[in-house]
Structures are given as structure tokens and as C-alpha cells.
Symmetry: C2
Subunit: 512 residues, 2 copies
């Protein structure tokens, strides 16, 4: 076989690699980050991290840089020779930090929270050191097995129906995805495959393309853009159901769309219900929509990316009522459950729906991989092949906080959002735009969109706090999301006083 | 708006959250992992990691556990009350480590390497602490900008054509994906959208579904399964081109398939060339295949997941010749370039091909997001929305090793694989199955597949070293991949002696 390589690809000769010995010994000399050095630098980094988080309140929450700022500060090519660690660590404050949006500042109220806790960081350090790539059971049994059990733990905290748990012999189970977007996509692909197989079993003459043209997925007009994107990637139609006055998808609107589309010869196959929308944390009516999906034989996926963490509290669990109608359910512990990104928790009732979705020949697969309650090959549950040992983060966080600690954390955030809400309500110039249920408050100045855009611009230019807006129907609305692990009542009060002062100034300017 | 919620969803009353004050103060008491405690525990973890990696040689490389081992060792539910850190850390050695496949043991020769280095681990600690979610430029400018510049640095190390670099005003650029599978999928989706738009521009009456039915993607029969999977997800046909005697995709076979399919009314739109296949590290003939793709107006994606890292060495750069024909190129620094998982580097010549692929209405997007050389919103380049600050790992590794240090590292591994190759060649009972070009040696006992399967089974049961097999045509072949950062000649020698001894025993048993 040797010597037969294509003429256009010159072979690497044996002579060449024997010359590298001197290079290699040089390598030993020039690079000295051995374990001894790591012990020193690692401990310095631990202190740097603690200092950073202890002092984060003192940094402007939003950076004061212009696009392209960083390129001017660093060389155009990588160095040929190694640099010292001191050089690099000095550049963190000089080059990186000035351009960081500090998501963990107690003055960060933008988007939704992203989780951060010390136990999760410790677990992530260990994850990096073990550095296994757990695509199959054999690639690192502990990585796969801890994930399955942690997903059961979390499922039980949420009081998920038994069917979603792996247990020792369940047909369902959980998996850690990288993001809610991936979970939605995986669910949509599984639903697509399942429906196409069902239809082809009944009518073998139908091609996949002919069927895909007729498949329709549905979601609320308030759903996250990743749902539309999943439809686009999967090559199927996706329709937005008009939500009601509370930004909630209801039975009537969904049923109308289903009937209209079926009458037109289309095939409904997938519905995404959102619990806690990105814009205003509204909830689709799962108890109404769920039974319709089951009657119609349509896959029901629940996206509770942000709100899901709250369901561990008994007083918020009602928001998940109807989950028993779903085929798949997802939320992001990396948002609000103190598990650092990434950790998006997804459960399915039938794991074979996922594992068969990605295979041309599921029968063959079923024989070569025993995807039973015991051996799980998570690579068949997700888009990527490789995967980190992310369940360590859940294990550390769940054990160090305990369920009670996690519940107390959620409650603290909800309390702070209600505190902000009542401050806003006391000021007659403002209005609350949607019911405050969890940690998000949607509010605005009574008046024009332009007025509110100006106010937001003033808020974000001042860089004392950071907010992002949303649009609710035709209204420009400000979102105040309780985000940081360390945010307290005092921060919320200061944020409100700051907003109120800027509002006064904006309103004065308007009158002049 | 308040008070209008669906009757089926009870409202969360204001009374309930005022009761949480006592819970909250309890939370402060029971949970005490503050920054002071983190400083202590973090430093202990640094030492644990250094101890683990210093002592990894002493652990059996492959775990001795049965499926389901872990569930029996831990409780069935999360604890209600917080546990102590001591409890958790004790369980690492008791519950986790017995089930870990030690990918960084110098006796691990399975799959391909996964990267691990101390500078990358330090950077990842910092990444976790900053904890920003860099989906857009504004979400953390440093996160986006460092990534763009690091991808330029790396592109220059590989001598990529200028068109792939972002520079200050380039049309191309790089992005960090989570895995090569995602990069292939993203490229396929971009190619699909581009081709459908072109065809619809010429024939507006054609529906997307009608076109998708005709689209065909091509790859070698040696390509990774993720390529077939990308086709399945994208809902397009994917055809395997028979490779030649060197497991290389050549012009003639590809041209034959293209002509046959075009004659049948199909539309070729995407070709994946593999540089360094998973089975045997063979190389498709890029210099032959590239011009065909360009002539046919077909998107060319290069998957060099493993081999790509070697292209930073001038003596291996020839393997990338022809990259100028490609539309997209990907390899995994998280395999062989000392950047811990995940870090899959992908470049495109036209960033708008990616950013427009995921949008129903690209014109609208073009207006609302200025995806110029200055402002990049990486969420439009990838499947997930969220993203970690992964470029910090590249920055630390490139600077602490320097290009010369990275080259020396690659060369050391290639040298060791040649060393193993020459040991195998000295034993007439064995054969080398494919040319050894980089760090992978494919070898087998001369004789039946059964014989080789028995040998592999003996090797992996002994747990002194760990290998995985592959199939090349009808032959069962053993793969010896140089993997660990700390593997030295002595480990390779010991591994060979061990394999040789087991082979003797297997051959003796066969004769009896």
C-alpha cells in the first residue's frame, strides 16, 4: 500500500522526522508550564477570580469600547517564541477586562441571568482536568452515568412525570445539551423523523421530500427566534400562533391554525410551548394546548429555558402543570440554577425517538448499540459528537446548595423583582406592562416609544446598570431582569433611583 | 392586563413572596461557599488536578466497572439540605474516578487525542469566572473580538489564504464551533441555502421542498459519520464516493458521481473533503477535487478535524494544498493543539454565506445587524445561541507555547508514531496497514480478523493500554494513536512490548 500515494501529494519521508530530536529537546527547555508551575499559577488564578467577583460591583457593568478596540491592542500574529505567564496575566486587565460586559455584576439586569456559582466553577476545573470526551458509555462511563443520574435528580426536583426519568429501566431520560436552541432542534428533528416514518409506513410511495413539504410546526408569536431557526434548519414550515392579551398561546388560536392547515392538505407534526418567554416571561397555556397535541398526534416540546429553574419551588410548580402531555421538555440550569454555562437540561419520554432520529437505519443501530437503561451513548442524543463532563457541575451545585438552598435562591430573585415592580408602581409616570411572575419586570414610561427608547439609551450610556428592551405588540418596553447571584435589595433600590432620575431628565428635555 | 390570566393558571399572589424573608436569611446561613471558601477550595482543587495529572500513569487507563455501576453508589434524589465540601470531594475518588477512562494517560492510544494543557486550563478557569454569554458583540465585546483575532492568528499559522481571514475589512473570517460535526452541519446548511436561493432566483416557481429533493451532497466513503448525519439533519441526500487504494477520494470517482446525478436531474451542491480520516488518517485528494467543485459551482468544505493541527508545521503544510478551492475549512485545536475541549476552528471565505443561512429574510437582517469586519454577532454563525469565552484558551496556549512550541509538540507526536511504526515493522507477524503520515498507526497481525479481534480484546481487558479498532474495507485493524501530552518514547516501547506479548499468547492459543 505504501508508495502508492497520489503523485500530487508528496509523501512525508522517514528522514525528515529523525531531524526533530533537537527541536524536541528545545521544546522542553522553552516551555516550562509543568505541574509545579500550574500549582502556583492556578492558585494565583483562583485568587484573581475571587478578587474579580468580590470587586465586580466597582467595575462599570457595560464596557466603554468601540467596535474593533481589541485588534489595535494585540499583535497581528501569534508569537514564535513562548511568552511569560506574567505578560499574559498583565494583559487580562489591560486588554480583556475593558471590553467585558460584566454579566455577574449586581447592576446587570439585561437579557436573562446566566448562572455562576463557586461550586460550579470548582466542578468545571475538575471537568477540564479529567478532560474526557464522553460521546459513548465506554469513552468514560462515569461521564455518562453521572449525567443520567443527575438528570433524574433534577427531574425529581421538578416533579416531572415518571415517564421522563431514566431510572433503571425507563424508556425516557435526560441529557445535557449545550443550549435550549439545540434542544428545540433535536426535538424537532426527532418529531420530523417519527412523523415521516409513520406516514411512510402507511404510504410507502411517499418520498421524504414530498412529506417534508407538507410538515408544519407551530409555536407562539412570542417564542424565541431559535424555534423559527430550528424549523429553517430542519427544512420544515413553522407557523407563529397569535398569542392572547397575556402573550400566551391558547387553545382556540392553535386549533384554528391546525384545522386550516389540515384542510389545506398540510401535516401538523410539532408544537413548541414556551413557559417563560424571552420578551416578557409569559406562559403559553400548556393545560389547553397539551391535550390538543396529544389528540392530534403531534409532538409537544416545552421550552422553559429561563422559567424552568423556578419549578423546583412548590409554589411555582403549577406553571409546569400539563407537562404530562409533552414528548420533550427543556430548561437551562445554566440560566437560573447556579450551574455555569453550558448546561441545558432536556428530557424525553421515549429515548428511542431521539436515538433513531439521527440514523438512516435505526434497526441496524438498535442491534449494534444497546441504548438500554444501562448503556447510554449520548452521542445519539445530540448534534455534536464530543461532550464535556458537565454533570459534575450539577453534582457539585445540587449537593452544596441542597434543594432548599436552590429554592431559597430562586425565591430571593422573585422577591427582588416584586420589589422592583412595587417601586415602579409607586411612580405614576411609569406602567408595568405584564404580570410579574418570576424574576422579570417589563415596564415603561407612559408615553411614546421614542420616549422609552431615549430613556433606555440614557440608561445604557450611563453604564451604571445594564438593561435591554423588548417589543410587546407595538410597544417599546424596558426589561428589568434580576440576574446576578449577588444582587440584593440595595442594588435594586439604587437601580430604580437611577432610572427614575434619568426618566425625570428625559421627561424634562421632552417638555422643553 | 393584570387579573386577566387564564383561569387554568392560578396567579402567584403578592402575599406569598413576602413570606420568604425568613427562608432567605436561612439560605445565607446554610450555604457558605463564599469567595473566602472558594479561595481555599479552589487552591485545593488546583493541587488535586496537578496530583491527578502527575499520577495519572499509575491509574488503569480503562475503568473496571460494569454498566450501571454509578447509580448504586449515590442517592436516588438530591439532598434537601446542603452537604459539606469534604463529602463531595471524598466522593470524587470513591465514585467518579473508578469510572473514568483516562484520556490523558500516556497509555491512552485510542480514538484521537483530545487536547489538555495547563495554560488552557488556566484560561478556562478565567472563562468560567467572567461567565459572559457572547452571542452578540454587545453581549461582551472582548469575547467576540478576541475570537476574531485569535482565528486570524491561527489562520496565519496555517498559512490559510487571505480570503479566510477577517482582518479589518475582510469578507471571510473564523469562528469557534463546539465540534467538527457542528462545523460540517453549519457549512452544509449555508451551502443548501445558497444553492436554493440561486435556483429560485433563476426559477421563482420552484419550491424549497422541490429543490431539496434534488440536492445532493458528496463525501468519501471514509468520511466521519457526522457528515452523513449533517445530510440527514439538513434533509438532503448524501452520497459516499468510493475512495481509492489509499482511502483517498479522487477526481475520477467524484466526477463520475456528479455526472451520473446531474444526468438524473439531481443538483450537486456540497462536497466534504476529509484531510486525515478517523479510521486511518488518509487524505482526500484536495488538489484534484477542489477544482472540480469550483467548476461545478458546488460548495467545498474541508474537514481536517484531527490532522489540521499539523498544518502549522511547514513540513506538513503540503497536506493542505488546495485549501484555496474551499468555501469553508475546519479543524479541531481541541484535538491536537493543546487547547482543551471545546474549540473547533472554522473559517469561511464569505461570512455572509453563514449569517444569511439561518434567516428567512436576510435583507432585513442585513439592515438590523451590521455584520461587518468590525461588529460580529457570532450567534448567526452557529447552531446554539449562547457561547463561552473560548478564545481565551487559544490566547493563553498560543502565547505560552509560541508557534515554535506548538510545532515541536506536533513533531514529537509524529516522531513517536513513526517509532511505533518501526517497532511493528520489525516484527514479521504484524503488518502496517496504511502509510503513517501523522500520529496514527494502523496495524494488525497478519491473519484473520478474528485473530485481531481477539488480540484487541486481550489488550483492552488487560487495561494497561487502551486502543480502539477500525475497519478498512474488509479488514479489522488496530489503531495506535499517539494521544497524551505526556507520552514519551518509553511509553510507546512499553505499549509495544505489551502488545507483542499478548500477540504471542493469542497466536500460541490459536495453534493449540
Amino acid at each position: 500500500m505504501q508508495g502508492q500515494r497520489n503523485a500530487s501529494v508528496p509523501s512525508c519521508s522517514l528522514q525528515s522526522w529523525t531531524e526533530w530530536t533537537c527541536e524536541e529537546s528545545k521544546f522542553q527547555t522553552i516551555f516550562n508550564m509543568d505541574s509545579r508551575e500550574f500549582r502556583r499559577r492556578g492558585k494565583e488564578m483562583v485568587d484573581y477570580i475571587a478578587d474579580y467577583l468580590d470587586g465586580i460591583e466597582g467595575r462599570p457593568v457595560y464596557p466603554d469600547v468601540e467596535p474593533g478596540y481589541l485588534r489595535a491592542l494585540i499583535p497581528t500574529t501569534a508569537p514564535q517564541e513562548p511568552e511569560t505567564y506574567e505578560d499574559i496575566i498583565r494583559d487580562i486587565e489591560k486588554i480583556i477586562m475593558p471590553g467585558v460586559t460584566h454579566w455577574h455584576s449586581p447592576y446587570f439586569f439585561a437579557y436573562f441571568p446566566t448562572a455562576s456559582s463557586y461550586p460550579a466553577m470548582l466542578a468545571d476545573m475538575l471537568c477540564g482536568a479529567i478532560g474526557c470526551i464522553g460521546f459513548s458509555w465506554a469513552a468514560s462511563p462515569a461521564c455518562t452515568e453521572l449525567e443520567t443520574v443527575m438528570m433524574d435528580w433534577l427531574g425529581k426536583m421538578l416533579e416531572l412525570p415518571e415517564a421522563f426519568l431514566a431510572g433503571r429501566a425507563g424508556e425516557g431520560g435526560g441529557v445535557i445539551q449545550g443550549s435550549a436552541s439545540e434542544a428545540t432542534l433535536v426535538a424537532l428533528l426527532a418529531a420530523r423523523t417519527k412523523m415521516i416514518r409513520q406516514l411512510q409506513a402507511a404510504s410507502p410511495e411517499l418520498t421524504q421530500a414530498a412529506l417534508m413539504e407538507k410538515l408544519v410546526a407551530y409555536t407562539s408569536d412570542q417564542a424565541h427566534s431559535s424555534v423559527e431557526r430550528a424549523g429553517l434548519i430542519g427544512g420544515v414550515k413553522i407557523k407563529a400562533i397569535p398569542s392572547d392579551g397575556n402573550y400566551s398561546m391558547r387553545a382556540a388560536a392553535l386549533r384554528e391554525a391546525l384545522e386550516r392547515d389540515k384542510a389545506a392538505g398540510l401535516i401538523p407534526f410539532f408544537v413548541v410551548v414556551t413557559l417563560g418567554t424571552t420578551s416578557c416571561c409569559s406562559f403559553d397555556n400548556l393545560l389547553e394546548v397539551g391535550p390538543i397535541c396529544n389528540q392530534e398526534g403531534v409532538w409537544l416540546h416545552i421550552d422553559a429555558a429561563y422559567a424552568g429553574s423556578a419549578f423546583i419551588c412548590p409554589e411555582f410548580r403549577y406553571l409546569l402543570n400539563g407537562v404530562e402531555f409533552a414528548d420533550s421538555f427543556n430548561f437551562n440550569p445554566h440560566k437560573w440554577l447556579l450551574v455555569n454555562f453550558d448546561c441545558s437540561a432536556m428530557w424525553v419520554k421515549k429515548r428511542t425517538d431521539l436515538t433513531e432520529a439521527f440514523n438512516m437505519d435505526p434497526v441496524y443501530l438498535r442491534h449494534s448499540h444497546q441504548d438500554s437503561g444501562l448503556i447510554t451513548d449520548y452521542r445519539h442524543w445530540q448534534i455534536p459528537l464530543g461532550r464535556r463532563f458537565r454533570s459534575l457541575k450539577m453534582w457539585f451545585v445540587f449537593r452544596m446548595y441542597g434543594v432548599k438552598g436552590l429554592q431559597a435562591y430562586i425565591r430571593k430573585h422573585v422577591k427582588l423583582s416584586h420589589e422592583f415592580e412595587s417601586l415602579v408602581r409607586q411612580d405614576p409616570r411609569f406602567e408595568i406592562c405584564t404580570e410579574v411572575i418570576l424574576g422579570l419586570v417589563c415596564f415603561r414610561l407612559k408615553g411614546s416609544n421614542q420616549l422609552n427608547e431615549t430613556l433606555l439609551q440614557r440608561i445604557n450610556s450611563a453604564k451604571k446598570i445594564h438593561l435591554v428592551p423588548c417589543r410587546l405588540r407595538d410597544k417599546f418596553v424596558l426589561r428589568f431582569a434580576v440576574c446576578s447571584r449577588t444582587v440584593e435589595s440595595a442594588h435594586v433600590q439604587l437601580a430604580w433611583e437611577h432610572i427614575r432620575d434619568l426618566a425625570s431628565s428625559v421627561l424634562r428635555a421632552e417638555k422643553e
